[in-house]
Protein backbone atom coordinates (compact mmCIF):
# COMPACT_ATOMS: atom_id res chain seq x y z
CA UNK A 1 0.00 0.00 0.00
CA UNK A 2 1.14 3.53 -0.58
CA UNK A 3 2.29 5.69 2.26
CA UNK A 4 1.92 9.38 2.39
CA UNK A 5 5.35 10.11 0.95
CA UNK A 6 4.72 7.66 -1.84
CA UNK A 7 1.47 9.37 -2.69
CA UNK A 8 3.10 12.76 -2.96
CA UNK A 9 5.81 11.33 -5.19
CA UNK A 10 3.20 9.55 -7.29
CA UNK A 11 1.33 12.80 -7.69
CA UNK A 12 4.38 14.56 -9.01
CA UNK A 13 5.04 11.72 -11.43
CA UNK A 14 1.48 11.70 -12.71
CA UNK A 15 1.41 15.46 -13.12
CA UNK A 16 4.66 15.36 -15.04
CA UNK A 17 3.39 12.63 -17.33
CA UNK A 18 0.17 14.51 -17.95
CA UNK A 19 1.95 17.76 -18.71
CA UNK A 20 4.21 15.91 -21.10
CA UNK A 21 1.23 14.28 -22.83
CA UNK A 22 -0.46 17.64 -23.05
CA UNK A 23 2.52 19.21 -24.74
CA UNK A 24 2.79 16.26 -27.07
CA UNK A 25 -0.86 16.59 -28.01
CA UNK A 26 -0.32 20.28 -28.51
CA UNK A 27 2.35 19.70 -31.11
CA UNK A 28 0.50 16.88 -32.81
CA UNK A 29 -2.65 18.92 -33.06
CA UNK A 30 -0.82 21.82 -34.61
CA UNK A 31 0.53 19.47 -37.20
CA UNK A 32 -2.94 18.53 -38.35
CA UNK A 33 -5.78 20.34 -39.95
CA UNK A 34 -6.12 22.61 -42.91
CA UNK A 35 -2.90 24.35 -42.19
CA UNK A 36 -0.28 22.00 -40.93
CA UNK A 37 2.52 23.40 -38.89
CA UNK A 38 5.38 21.03 -38.24
CA UNK A 39 6.86 20.87 -34.75
CA UNK A 40 10.05 22.71 -35.49
CA UNK A 41 8.11 25.38 -37.31
CA UNK A 42 6.05 25.75 -34.16
CA UNK A 43 9.14 26.28 -32.09
CA UNK A 44 10.53 28.72 -34.62
CA UNK A 45 7.33 30.73 -34.67
CA UNK A 46 7.16 30.82 -30.90
CA UNK A 47 10.60 32.38 -30.66
CA UNK A 48 9.65 34.80 -33.37
CA UNK A 49 11.33 33.34 -36.42
CA UNK A 50 8.44 31.76 -38.26
CA UNK A 51 6.82 32.60 -41.56
CA UNK A 52 4.06 35.18 -41.67
CA UNK A 53 1.48 32.57 -42.39
CA UNK A 54 2.59 30.37 -39.55
CA UNK A 55 2.64 33.31 -37.20
CA UNK A 56 -0.90 34.26 -38.12
CA UNK A 57 -2.38 30.81 -37.87
CA UNK A 58 -0.50 29.78 -34.79
CA UNK A 59 -0.55 32.89 -32.71
CA UNK A 60 -3.90 34.35 -33.70
CA UNK A 61 -6.01 31.25 -34.15
CA UNK A 62 -4.62 27.99 -32.92
CA UNK A 63 -2.86 29.03 -29.75
CA UNK A 64 -5.70 30.97 -28.13
CA UNK A 65 -8.08 28.18 -29.00
CA UNK A 66 -5.87 25.58 -27.38
CA UNK A 67 -5.31 27.71 -24.34
CA UNK A 68 -9.06 28.04 -24.01
CA UNK A 69 -9.50 24.29 -24.39
CA UNK A 70 -6.98 23.69 -21.63
CA UNK A 71 -8.68 26.22 -19.37
CA UNK A 72 -12.19 24.93 -19.99
CA UNK A 73 -11.10 21.34 -19.44
CA UNK A 74 -9.47 22.27 -16.15
CA UNK A 75 -12.38 24.42 -15.04
CA UNK A 76 -14.97 21.75 -15.76
CA UNK A 77 -12.86 19.15 -13.96
CA UNK A 78 -12.60 21.37 -10.89
CA UNK A 79 -16.31 22.09 -11.01
CA UNK A 80 -17.17 18.41 -11.28
CA UNK A 81 -14.83 17.43 -8.44
CA UNK A 82 -16.43 19.93 -6.11
CA UNK A 83 -19.96 18.93 -7.09
CA UNK A 84 -19.18 15.30 -6.51
CA UNK A 85 -17.74 16.01 -3.08
CA UNK A 86 -20.66 18.19 -2.06
CA UNK A 87 -23.40 15.93 -3.36
CA UNK A 88 -21.55 12.83 -2.08
CA UNK A 89 -22.32 11.39 -5.45
CA UNK A 90 -19.68 10.22 -7.86
CA UNK A 91 -22.00 10.74 -10.77
CA UNK A 92 -22.63 14.46 -10.40
CA UNK A 93 -21.49 16.80 -13.15
CA UNK A 94 -22.43 20.39 -13.95
CA UNK A 95 -24.01 19.25 -17.22
CA UNK A 96 -26.20 16.53 -15.79
CA UNK A 97 -27.53 18.57 -12.93
CA UNK A 98 -28.55 21.41 -15.11
CA UNK A 99 -26.01 24.11 -14.38
CA UNK A 100 -24.76 24.12 -17.92
CA UNK A 101 -28.33 24.25 -19.17
CA UNK A 102 -28.99 27.26 -16.97
CA UNK A 103 -25.95 29.04 -18.28
CA UNK A 104 -26.86 28.13 -21.85
CA UNK A 105 -30.37 29.38 -21.34
CA UNK A 106 -29.07 32.72 -20.11
CA UNK A 107 -26.79 33.06 -23.10
CA UNK A 108 -29.50 32.20 -25.61
CA UNK A 109 -31.90 34.52 -23.81
CA UNK A 110 -29.33 37.29 -23.90
CA UNK A 111 -28.87 36.88 -27.63
CA UNK A 112 -32.59 36.71 -28.14
CA UNK A 113 -33.18 39.89 -26.18
CA UNK A 114 -30.60 41.93 -27.97
CA UNK A 115 -32.04 40.53 -31.18
CA UNK A 116 -28.53 39.80 -32.19
CA UNK A 117 -27.60 37.01 -34.49
CA UNK A 118 -25.04 34.47 -33.42
CA UNK A 119 -22.49 36.02 -35.75
CA UNK A 120 -22.68 39.15 -33.70
CA UNK A 121 -21.52 37.09 -30.75
CA UNK A 122 -17.91 37.84 -31.42
CA UNK A 123 -18.51 41.51 -31.79
CA UNK A 124 -20.35 41.87 -28.52
CA UNK A 125 -18.53 43.34 -25.66
CA UNK A 126 -16.63 40.34 -24.43
CA UNK A 127 -17.49 40.97 -20.82
CA UNK A 128 -21.20 40.58 -21.23
CA UNK A 129 -21.38 37.03 -22.48
CA UNK A 130 -19.43 35.37 -19.65
CA UNK A 131 -21.34 37.53 -17.23
CA UNK A 132 -24.70 36.35 -18.50
CA UNK A 133 -23.50 32.80 -18.62
CA UNK A 134 -22.32 33.07 -15.04
CA UNK A 135 -25.65 34.55 -13.96
CA UNK A 136 -27.52 31.76 -15.69
CA UNK A 137 -25.36 29.17 -13.95
CA UNK A 138 -25.96 30.82 -10.60
CA UNK A 139 -29.69 30.98 -11.26
CA UNK A 140 -29.82 27.29 -12.07
CA UNK A 141 -27.73 26.41 -9.02
CA UNK A 142 -29.85 28.60 -6.76
CA UNK A 143 -33.02 26.96 -8.05
CA UNK A 144 -31.58 23.51 -7.55
CA UNK A 145 -30.36 24.33 -4.04
CA UNK A 146 -33.63 25.88 -2.96
CA UNK A 147 -35.76 23.12 -4.38
CA UNK A 148 -33.56 20.37 -3.00
CA UNK A 149 -33.40 21.93 0.43
CA UNK A 150 -35.76 20.29 2.86
CA UNK A 151 -34.22 20.84 6.29
CA UNK A 152 -30.85 20.18 4.77
CA UNK A 153 -29.45 18.88 1.56
CA UNK A 154 -29.87 15.26 0.65
CA UNK A 155 -27.46 14.23 -2.12
CA UNK A 156 -29.97 12.08 -4.01
CA UNK A 157 -32.53 14.84 -3.98
CA UNK A 158 -29.91 17.26 -5.27
CA UNK A 159 -29.16 15.12 -8.30
CA UNK A 160 -32.81 14.40 -9.07
CA UNK A 161 -33.84 18.04 -8.76
CA UNK A 162 -30.88 18.88 -10.96
CA UNK A 163 -32.15 16.51 -13.63
CA UNK A 164 -35.54 18.20 -13.45
CA UNK A 165 -34.06 21.67 -13.76
CA UNK A 166 -31.98 20.43 -16.65
CA UNK A 167 -35.13 19.33 -18.51
CA UNK A 168 -36.78 22.64 -17.77
CA UNK A 169 -33.98 24.79 -19.09
CA UNK A 170 -33.47 22.49 -22.06
CA UNK A 171 -37.14 22.91 -23.01
CA UNK A 172 -36.84 26.67 -22.63
CA UNK A 173 -33.77 26.72 -24.85
CA UNK A 174 -35.57 24.68 -27.49
CA UNK A 175 -38.45 27.12 -27.55
CA UNK A 176 -36.19 30.09 -28.05
CA UNK A 177 -34.13 28.28 -30.61
CA UNK A 178 -37.13 27.69 -32.80
CA UNK A 179 -37.82 31.38 -32.87
CA UNK A 180 -34.46 32.16 -34.36
CA UNK A 181 -33.79 32.31 -38.05
CA UNK A 182 -32.23 29.19 -39.60
CA UNK A 183 -28.57 30.29 -39.66
CA UNK A 184 -28.71 31.46 -36.10
CA UNK A 185 -30.52 28.32 -35.10
CA UNK A 186 -27.77 26.24 -36.56
CA UNK A 187 -25.06 28.25 -34.84
CA UNK A 188 -26.95 28.12 -31.59
CA UNK A 189 -27.30 24.38 -31.93
CA UNK A 190 -23.58 24.05 -32.47
CA UNK A 191 -22.79 26.26 -29.49
CA UNK A 192 -25.18 24.45 -27.20
CA UNK A 193 -23.60 21.13 -28.02
CA UNK A 194 -20.24 22.53 -26.99
CA UNK A 195 -18.07 24.66 -29.18
CA UNK A 196 -15.01 26.73 -28.45
CA UNK A 197 -16.25 29.66 -30.38
CA UNK A 198 -14.45 32.69 -29.05
CA UNK A 199 -10.88 31.75 -29.79
CA UNK A 200 -9.15 35.07 -29.48
CA UNK A 201 -6.62 36.41 -27.04
CA UNK A 202 -9.04 39.05 -25.85
CA UNK A 203 -11.45 36.44 -24.74
CA UNK A 204 -8.72 34.44 -23.10
CA UNK A 205 -7.70 37.51 -21.14
CA UNK A 206 -11.29 38.08 -20.01
CA UNK A 207 -11.68 34.57 -18.71
CA UNK A 208 -8.22 33.79 -17.42
CA UNK A 209 -8.02 35.86 -14.23
CA UNK A 210 -11.38 34.61 -12.96
CA UNK A 211 -10.53 31.06 -13.82
CA UNK A 212 -7.23 31.28 -11.96
CA UNK A 213 -8.82 32.93 -8.96
CA UNK A 214 -11.55 30.34 -8.64
CA UNK A 215 -9.18 27.41 -9.16
CA UNK A 216 -6.77 28.67 -6.54
CA UNK A 217 -9.65 29.18 -4.11
CA UNK A 218 -10.86 25.66 -4.80
CA UNK A 219 -7.39 24.29 -4.07
CA UNK A 220 -7.33 26.27 -0.85
CA UNK A 221 -10.58 24.60 0.10
CA UNK A 222 -9.21 21.09 -0.53
CA UNK A 223 -9.23 20.15 3.10
CA UNK A 224 -12.77 21.40 3.58
CA UNK A 225 -13.81 19.27 0.62
CA UNK A 226 -12.12 16.29 2.24
CA UNK A 227 -14.07 16.87 5.41
CA UNK A 228 -17.37 17.37 3.57
CA UNK A 229 -16.89 14.06 1.79
CA UNK A 230 -17.01 12.28 5.14
CA UNK A 231 -20.65 13.21 5.45
CA UNK A 232 -22.43 16.09 7.13
CA UNK A 233 -22.54 14.60 10.62
CA UNK A 234 -18.85 13.75 10.81
CA UNK A 235 -17.93 17.10 9.28
CA UNK A 236 -19.97 18.97 11.89
CA UNK A 237 -18.29 16.88 14.58
CA UNK A 238 -14.93 18.00 13.22
CA UNK A 239 -15.95 21.62 13.65
CA UNK A 240 -16.82 22.44 10.04
CA UNK A 241 -19.57 24.96 9.52
CA UNK A 242 -21.19 22.70 6.97
CA UNK A 243 -23.97 24.84 5.50
CA UNK A 244 -21.67 27.82 5.08
CA UNK A 245 -18.71 25.96 3.63
CA UNK A 246 -20.92 23.99 1.31
CA UNK A 247 -22.35 27.20 -0.09
CA UNK A 248 -18.89 28.62 -0.60
CA UNK A 249 -17.55 25.67 -2.54
CA UNK A 250 -20.80 25.22 -4.46
CA UNK A 251 -20.58 28.83 -5.53
CA UNK A 252 -17.06 28.20 -6.76
CA UNK A 253 -18.14 25.15 -8.73
CA UNK A 254 -21.05 27.00 -10.26
CA UNK A 255 -18.98 30.05 -11.15
CA UNK A 256 -16.42 27.82 -12.83
CA UNK A 257 -19.14 26.02 -14.76
CA UNK A 258 -20.63 29.32 -15.82
CA UNK A 259 -17.27 30.56 -17.10
CA UNK A 260 -16.65 27.34 -18.98
CA UNK A 261 -20.06 27.43 -20.62
CA UNK A 262 -19.53 30.98 -21.77
CA UNK A 263 -16.27 29.95 -23.42
CA UNK A 264 -17.19 26.54 -24.70
CA UNK A 265 -20.92 26.02 -24.72
CA UNK A 266 -22.58 23.03 -23.11
CA UNK A 267 -19.95 20.37 -22.59
CA UNK A 268 -21.26 17.49 -20.54
CA UNK A 269 -19.57 14.54 -18.86
CA UNK A 270 -16.10 16.01 -18.71
CA UNK A 271 -16.70 17.27 -15.19
CA UNK A 272 -17.70 13.76 -14.31
CA UNK A 273 -15.15 11.62 -16.04
CA UNK A 274 -11.97 13.57 -15.27
CA UNK A 275 -12.37 13.63 -11.47
CA UNK A 276 -13.36 9.99 -11.57
CA UNK A 277 -10.18 8.91 -13.32
CA UNK A 278 -8.16 11.18 -11.03
CA UNK A 279 -9.68 9.61 -7.97
CA UNK A 280 -8.96 6.14 -9.25
CA UNK A 281 -5.29 6.97 -9.64
CA UNK A 282 -4.71 9.23 -6.68
CA UNK A 283 -7.26 8.34 -4.03
CA UNK A 284 -9.89 10.64 -2.57
CA UNK A 285 -7.88 13.49 -1.13
CA UNK A 286 -8.69 16.69 -2.95
CA UNK A 287 -5.20 18.10 -2.66
CA UNK A 288 -4.28 15.51 -5.27
CA UNK A 289 -7.57 14.98 -7.05
CA UNK A 290 -8.08 18.60 -8.03
CA UNK A 291 -4.81 19.22 -9.89
CA UNK A 292 -4.70 15.77 -11.49
CA UNK A 293 -8.30 15.93 -12.68
CA UNK A 294 -7.66 19.40 -14.09
CA UNK A 295 -4.82 18.07 -16.20
CA UNK A 296 -6.86 15.06 -17.29
CA UNK A 297 -9.74 17.37 -18.17
CA UNK A 298 -7.48 19.64 -20.20
CA UNK A 299 -5.99 16.71 -22.02
CA UNK A 300 -9.37 15.16 -22.82
CA UNK A 301 -10.82 18.41 -24.06
CA UNK A 302 -7.82 19.21 -26.21
CA UNK A 303 -7.98 15.69 -27.58
CA UNK A 304 -11.70 16.03 -28.29
CA UNK A 305 -11.14 19.35 -29.99
CA UNK A 306 -8.36 17.92 -32.15
CA UNK A 307 -10.50 14.96 -33.12
CA UNK A 308 -13.51 17.17 -33.77
CA UNK A 309 -11.56 19.48 -36.03
CA UNK A 310 -9.81 16.82 -38.02
CA UNK A 311 -11.64 13.55 -38.19
CA UNK A 312 -14.29 14.53 -40.71
CA UNK A 313 -12.44 17.42 -42.29
CA UNK A 314 -13.46 19.83 -43.63
CA UNK A 315 -16.54 19.62 -41.42
CA UNK A 316 -16.01 20.36 -37.82
CA UNK A 317 -17.63 18.27 -35.16
CA UNK A 318 -18.17 20.39 -32.11
CA UNK A 319 -16.06 19.51 -29.15
CA UNK A 320 -19.01 18.78 -26.86
CA UNK A 321 -20.24 16.09 -29.19
CA UNK A 322 -16.89 14.33 -29.28
CA UNK A 323 -16.59 14.54 -25.50
CA UNK A 324 -20.08 13.08 -25.14
CA UNK A 325 -19.36 10.25 -27.53
CA UNK A 326 -16.15 9.38 -25.71
CA UNK A 327 -17.42 9.86 -22.19
CA UNK A 328 -21.00 8.60 -22.21
CA UNK A 329 -19.98 4.95 -22.60
CA UNK A 330 -17.46 5.37 -19.76
CA UNK A 331 -20.19 7.00 -17.65
CA UNK A 332 -22.52 4.10 -18.35
CA UNK A 333 -19.78 1.67 -17.40
CA UNK A 334 -19.33 3.57 -14.12
CA UNK A 335 -23.07 3.51 -13.47
CA UNK A 336 -23.10 -0.21 -13.86
CA UNK A 337 -20.21 -0.70 -11.53
CA UNK A 338 -21.23 1.59 -8.69
CA UNK A 339 -23.81 0.81 -6.12
Amino acid sequence: MTTKKDLAKKCIWIISILVFLLLLLFFVSLNMGLVKIAPNAVLQTLIGNGTERDKLVLLEFRLPRMVLAVMIGAGLAFSGSILQAVSKNELADPGIIGINAGAGFAVVLFLFIIQGSMSALAAINLWLLPLFSFLGAVLAAALIYMLAWKKGINPIRLVLVGIGINSGFAAAITIMQLKMNPQDFMKAAVWISGDIWGASWNFVLVILPWMLLLCIYALYKSHTLNQLSLGDQVAIGLGVHVERERLKVLFTAVALAGLCVSAGGGISFLGLVAPHIARKIMGPKHQYVLPVSALIGSFLLLLADTIGQNILAPTQISVGIVVAIISAPYFIYLLMKTN
Binding site: K151, G237, G283, K285
Partner: protein
Protein backbone atom coordinates in the same frame (compact mmCIF):
# COMPACT_ATOMS: atom_id res chain seq x y z
CA UNK B 1 -18.34 18.64 37.79
CA UNK B 2 -20.71 18.76 34.89
CA UNK B 3 -19.28 18.90 31.45
CA UNK B 4 -22.43 18.52 29.40
CA UNK B 5 -25.96 19.18 30.48
CA UNK B 6 -29.34 19.90 29.04
CA UNK B 7 -32.19 22.06 30.27
CA UNK B 8 -35.78 21.68 29.18
CA UNK B 9 -34.73 20.35 25.81
CA UNK B 10 -37.48 20.03 23.21
CA UNK B 11 -36.45 18.10 20.12
CA UNK B 12 -38.32 17.21 16.99
CA UNK B 13 -38.34 16.97 13.19
CA UNK B 14 -40.54 19.42 11.29
CA UNK B 15 -43.97 18.98 12.89
CA UNK B 16 -43.26 15.87 14.90
CA UNK B 17 -42.05 16.36 18.49
CA UNK B 18 -39.89 13.51 19.71
CA UNK B 19 -38.69 14.82 23.06
CA UNK B 20 -40.89 17.15 25.09
CA UNK B 21 -38.85 18.31 28.04
CA UNK B 22 -35.51 16.77 28.79
CA UNK B 23 -33.08 17.82 31.46
CA UNK B 24 -30.09 15.85 32.63
CA UNK B 25 -26.43 16.22 33.45
CA UNK B 26 -23.41 14.28 32.27
CA UNK B 27 -20.69 14.07 34.89
CA UNK B 28 -17.13 14.55 33.82
CA UNK B 29 -14.92 11.47 33.76
CA UNK B 30 -17.80 9.02 33.53
CA UNK B 31 -19.19 6.69 30.92
CA UNK B 32 -22.89 7.41 30.42
CA UNK B 33 -25.10 5.26 28.24
CA UNK B 34 -28.49 6.13 26.82
CA UNK B 35 -30.75 3.14 26.36
CA UNK B 36 -34.32 2.74 25.19
CA UNK B 37 -36.57 1.06 22.63
CA UNK B 38 -36.62 1.92 18.92
CA UNK B 39 -38.01 5.32 18.14
CA UNK B 40 -37.62 6.65 21.68
CA UNK B 41 -35.34 9.36 20.42
CA UNK B 42 -31.95 8.25 21.74
CA UNK B 43 -30.03 8.96 18.53
CA UNK B 44 -31.79 12.28 18.08
CA UNK B 45 -30.92 13.27 21.63
CA UNK B 46 -27.27 12.40 21.06
CA UNK B 47 -27.23 14.40 17.85
CA UNK B 48 -28.75 17.37 19.66
CA UNK B 49 -26.12 17.09 22.36
CA UNK B 50 -23.49 17.11 19.65
CA UNK B 51 -25.12 20.16 18.01
CA UNK B 52 -25.61 18.18 14.81
CA UNK B 53 -29.36 18.55 15.24
CA UNK B 54 -30.98 21.78 16.36
CA UNK B 55 -33.34 21.63 19.29
CA UNK B 56 -36.69 23.34 19.00
CA UNK B 57 -36.30 24.91 22.42
CA UNK B 58 -34.27 24.47 25.56
CA UNK B 59 -30.55 24.50 26.09
CA UNK B 60 -27.51 22.31 25.83
CA UNK B 61 -24.62 23.46 27.97
CA UNK B 62 -21.02 22.52 27.28
CA UNK B 63 -18.78 23.34 30.23
CA UNK B 64 -21.44 25.70 31.45
CA UNK B 65 -21.79 27.68 28.22
CA UNK B 66 -24.77 27.45 25.85
CA UNK B 67 -23.57 25.30 22.99
CA UNK B 68 -25.10 27.30 20.19
CA UNK B 69 -23.09 30.30 21.28
CA UNK B 70 -19.75 28.57 21.02
CA UNK B 71 -18.04 28.61 17.59
CA UNK B 72 -18.28 25.18 16.05
CA UNK B 73 -14.55 24.65 15.68
CA UNK B 74 -14.07 25.39 19.35
CA UNK B 75 -16.72 22.86 20.23
CA UNK B 76 -14.82 20.32 18.10
CA UNK B 77 -11.79 20.87 20.30
CA UNK B 78 -13.76 19.86 23.35
CA UNK B 79 -16.19 17.29 21.97
CA UNK B 80 -15.76 14.54 19.38
CA UNK B 81 -18.72 12.78 17.75
CA UNK B 82 -18.97 9.43 16.03
CA UNK B 83 -22.30 9.11 14.20
CA UNK B 84 -24.02 5.88 13.25
CA UNK B 85 -22.69 4.03 10.17
CA UNK B 86 -20.14 6.61 9.06
CA UNK B 87 -19.06 6.38 5.47
CA UNK B 88 -15.52 6.91 4.25
CA UNK B 89 -14.86 7.68 0.59
CA UNK B 90 -13.24 4.87 -1.37
CA UNK B 91 -9.47 4.74 -1.30
CA UNK B 92 -9.00 6.62 1.99
CA UNK B 93 -6.26 5.11 4.12
CA UNK B 94 -6.55 4.61 7.87
CA UNK B 95 -3.78 7.11 8.46
CA UNK B 96 -5.54 9.75 6.37
CA UNK B 97 -8.85 9.17 8.10
CA UNK B 98 -7.27 9.62 11.51
CA UNK B 99 -5.45 12.71 10.30
CA UNK B 100 -8.81 14.34 9.57
CA UNK B 101 -9.44 14.15 13.28
CA UNK B 102 -6.73 16.77 13.75
CA UNK B 103 -8.63 19.41 11.74
CA UNK B 104 -10.15 21.28 14.68
CA UNK B 105 -6.58 22.07 15.70
CA UNK B 106 -5.40 23.04 12.22
CA UNK B 107 -5.60 26.06 10.00
CA UNK B 108 -5.83 26.68 6.29
CA UNK B 109 -4.10 24.09 4.15
CA UNK B 110 -4.15 21.60 7.01
CA UNK B 111 -0.55 20.48 6.88
CA UNK B 112 0.34 17.98 9.52
CA UNK B 113 2.54 19.45 12.22
CA UNK B 114 4.87 17.29 14.26
CA UNK B 115 2.40 17.39 17.11
CA UNK B 116 -0.34 16.21 14.74
CA UNK B 117 1.78 13.29 13.64
CA UNK B 118 2.51 12.38 17.27
CA UNK B 119 -1.17 12.29 18.09
CA UNK B 120 -2.00 10.20 15.03
CA UNK B 121 0.69 7.68 15.95
CA UNK B 122 -0.65 7.51 19.45
CA UNK B 123 -4.22 7.02 18.21
CA UNK B 124 -3.00 4.21 15.97
CA UNK B 125 -1.30 2.55 18.91
CA UNK B 126 -4.20 2.86 21.33
CA UNK B 127 -6.61 1.33 18.81
CA UNK B 128 -4.14 -1.33 17.73
CA UNK B 129 -4.14 -0.25 14.09
CA UNK B 130 -0.44 0.41 13.58
CA UNK B 131 -0.07 -2.43 11.07
CA UNK B 132 -3.09 -1.25 9.10
CA UNK B 133 -2.14 2.42 8.82
CA UNK B 134 -1.83 2.38 5.02
CA UNK B 135 -4.77 0.16 4.26
CA UNK B 136 -7.96 1.51 2.73
CA UNK B 137 -10.68 1.97 5.31
CA UNK B 138 -13.31 0.29 3.17
CA UNK B 139 -11.25 -2.89 2.93
CA UNK B 140 -11.16 -3.37 6.70
CA UNK B 141 -13.37 -5.70 8.69
CA UNK B 142 -16.29 -4.21 10.62
CA UNK B 143 -14.45 -4.15 13.92
CA UNK B 144 -11.28 -2.70 12.42
CA UNK B 145 -13.23 -0.03 10.59
CA UNK B 146 -15.02 1.03 13.71
CA UNK B 147 -11.69 1.21 15.51
CA UNK B 148 -10.37 3.44 12.73
CA UNK B 149 -13.28 5.86 13.18
CA UNK B 150 -12.77 5.83 16.93
CA UNK B 151 -9.08 6.53 16.33
CA UNK B 152 -10.12 9.59 14.29
CA UNK B 153 -12.38 10.72 17.11
CA UNK B 154 -9.69 10.34 19.74
CA UNK B 155 -7.13 12.07 17.55
CA UNK B 156 -9.31 15.12 18.08
CA UNK B 157 -7.91 15.08 21.63
CA UNK B 158 -11.17 16.03 23.25
CA UNK B 159 -12.27 15.48 26.78
CA UNK B 160 -15.73 14.48 25.65
CA UNK B 161 -16.55 11.66 23.23
CA UNK B 162 -20.07 11.03 21.92
CA UNK B 163 -20.82 7.79 20.08
CA UNK B 164 -24.06 6.77 18.39
CA UNK B 165 -24.48 3.00 18.46
CA UNK B 166 -20.78 2.20 18.05
CA UNK B 167 -21.31 -1.54 18.36
CA UNK B 168 -24.62 -2.22 16.65
CA UNK B 169 -23.39 -3.90 13.48
CA UNK B 170 -20.46 -5.75 14.98
CA UNK B 171 -20.19 -9.36 16.05
CA UNK B 172 -19.83 -10.35 19.70
CA UNK B 173 -16.06 -10.31 19.87
CA UNK B 174 -15.73 -6.99 18.10
CA UNK B 175 -18.42 -5.41 20.21
CA UNK B 176 -16.49 -6.23 23.35
CA UNK B 177 -13.26 -5.08 21.76
CA UNK B 178 -14.71 -1.61 21.10
CA UNK B 179 -16.33 -1.29 24.50
CA UNK B 180 -13.16 -2.34 26.28
CA UNK B 181 -11.24 0.21 24.26
CA UNK B 182 -13.67 2.91 25.30
CA UNK B 183 -13.41 1.82 28.90
CA UNK B 184 -9.64 2.03 28.70
CA UNK B 185 -9.82 5.55 27.24
CA UNK B 186 -12.10 6.52 30.07
CA UNK B 187 -9.92 5.04 32.80
CA UNK B 188 -6.46 5.90 31.46
CA UNK B 189 -7.17 9.39 30.22
CA UNK B 190 -10.23 10.39 32.16
CA UNK B 191 -12.28 10.97 29.04
CA UNK B 192 -16.00 11.48 29.39
CA UNK B 193 -17.96 9.17 27.15
CA UNK B 194 -21.62 9.39 26.22
CA UNK B 195 -22.99 6.67 24.01
CA UNK B 196 -26.19 5.17 22.71
CA UNK B 197 -26.17 1.39 23.04
CA UNK B 198 -28.73 -1.21 22.05
CA UNK B 199 -27.41 -4.11 24.06
CA UNK B 200 -28.63 -3.65 27.64
CA UNK B 201 -26.10 -5.97 29.18
CA UNK B 202 -23.18 -4.25 27.54
CA UNK B 203 -24.57 -0.92 28.66
CA UNK B 204 -24.86 -2.16 32.24
CA UNK B 205 -21.39 -3.68 32.21
CA UNK B 206 -19.51 -0.69 30.88
CA UNK B 207 -21.39 2.38 32.17
CA UNK B 208 -21.01 4.44 35.26
CA UNK B 209 -24.41 5.96 34.69
CA UNK B 210 -27.35 4.95 32.54
CA UNK B 211 -30.19 7.01 31.16
CA UNK B 212 -33.29 5.07 30.15
CA UNK B 213 -35.63 6.76 27.68
CA UNK B 214 -39.01 5.83 26.35
CA UNK B 215 -41.19 7.80 23.94
CA UNK B 216 -39.02 10.86 24.43
CA UNK B 217 -39.31 10.87 28.20
CA UNK B 218 -36.56 10.17 30.67
CA UNK B 219 -37.79 7.15 32.58
CA UNK B 220 -34.90 6.51 34.91
CA UNK B 221 -31.44 7.81 35.48
CA UNK B 222 -28.77 6.33 37.71
CA UNK B 223 -26.17 3.64 38.13
CA UNK B 224 -26.46 0.34 36.36
CA UNK B 225 -27.85 -1.27 39.52
CA UNK B 226 -30.52 1.41 39.81
CA UNK B 227 -31.61 1.28 36.18
CA UNK B 228 -31.32 -2.42 35.43
CA UNK B 229 -34.27 -3.59 37.45
CA UNK B 230 -37.30 -5.54 36.33
CA UNK B 231 -39.52 -2.61 37.23
CA UNK B 232 -37.61 -0.08 35.14
CA UNK B 233 -37.22 -2.44 32.21
CA UNK B 234 -40.93 -3.12 32.27
CA UNK B 235 -41.72 0.58 32.03
CA UNK B 236 -39.11 1.29 29.40
CA UNK B 237 -39.20 -1.77 27.14
CA UNK B 238 -42.53 -3.41 28.02
CA UNK B 239 -40.75 -6.62 28.84
CA UNK B 240 -40.90 -8.95 31.78
CA UNK B 241 -37.21 -9.25 32.57
CA UNK B 242 -35.24 -11.46 34.87
CA UNK B 243 -32.23 -9.54 36.20
CA UNK B 244 -29.33 -11.28 37.88
CA UNK B 245 -25.80 -10.32 38.78
CA UNK B 246 -23.10 -11.43 36.37
CA UNK B 247 -20.56 -13.48 38.38
CA UNK B 248 -17.76 -12.27 36.14
CA UNK B 249 -18.30 -8.54 36.24
CA UNK B 250 -20.51 -8.07 39.29
CA UNK B 251 -22.83 -5.96 37.21
CA UNK B 252 -26.56 -6.52 36.63
CA UNK B 253 -27.43 -8.60 33.62
CA UNK B 254 -30.77 -9.31 32.02
CA UNK B 255 -30.78 -13.09 31.96
CA UNK B 256 -33.97 -13.60 30.05
CA UNK B 257 -37.13 -11.77 29.28
CA UNK B 258 -40.53 -12.21 27.78
CA UNK B 259 -43.21 -9.98 26.37
CA UNK B 260 -45.79 -8.81 28.85
CA UNK B 261 -49.29 -8.78 27.29
CA UNK B 262 -48.69 -11.57 24.82
CA UNK B 263 -47.64 -13.99 27.51
CA UNK B 264 -50.94 -13.63 29.32
CA UNK B 265 -52.90 -14.30 26.13
CA UNK B 266 -50.83 -17.32 25.23
CA UNK B 267 -51.39 -18.76 28.67
CA UNK B 268 -55.14 -18.53 28.28
CA UNK B 269 -55.34 -19.82 24.73
CA UNK B 270 -53.14 -22.85 25.00
CA UNK B 271 -54.02 -23.68 28.52
CA UNK B 272 -50.37 -23.91 29.33
CA UNK B 273 -49.30 -22.39 32.55
CA UNK B 274 -45.99 -20.58 32.27
CA UNK B 275 -44.07 -20.63 35.48
CA UNK B 276 -42.03 -17.44 35.76
CA UNK B 277 -38.44 -18.21 36.59
CA UNK B 278 -37.86 -16.83 40.01
CA UNK B 279 -34.50 -15.84 41.26
Amino acid sequence: MSILSTEHLKIGYEEKIIVEDLSFTIQSGEITTIIGPNGCGKSTILKTLARIHKAKSGFVYLDGKAIHKIPTKQIAQKMAVLPQSPDAPAGLTVFDLISYGRSPHQKGFARLSDRDKEVIEWALKVTGLEELRDQDVDTLSGGQRQRAWIAMAIAQETELLLLDEPTTYLDMAHQLEILKLLKKLNEDENRTIVMVIHDLNHAARFSDRMIAMNKGRLMKEGTAEEVMTAEVLKNVFQIDAVVVTDPRTNKPVCLSYDLIEQEKDMNNKNGIVQEPVLV
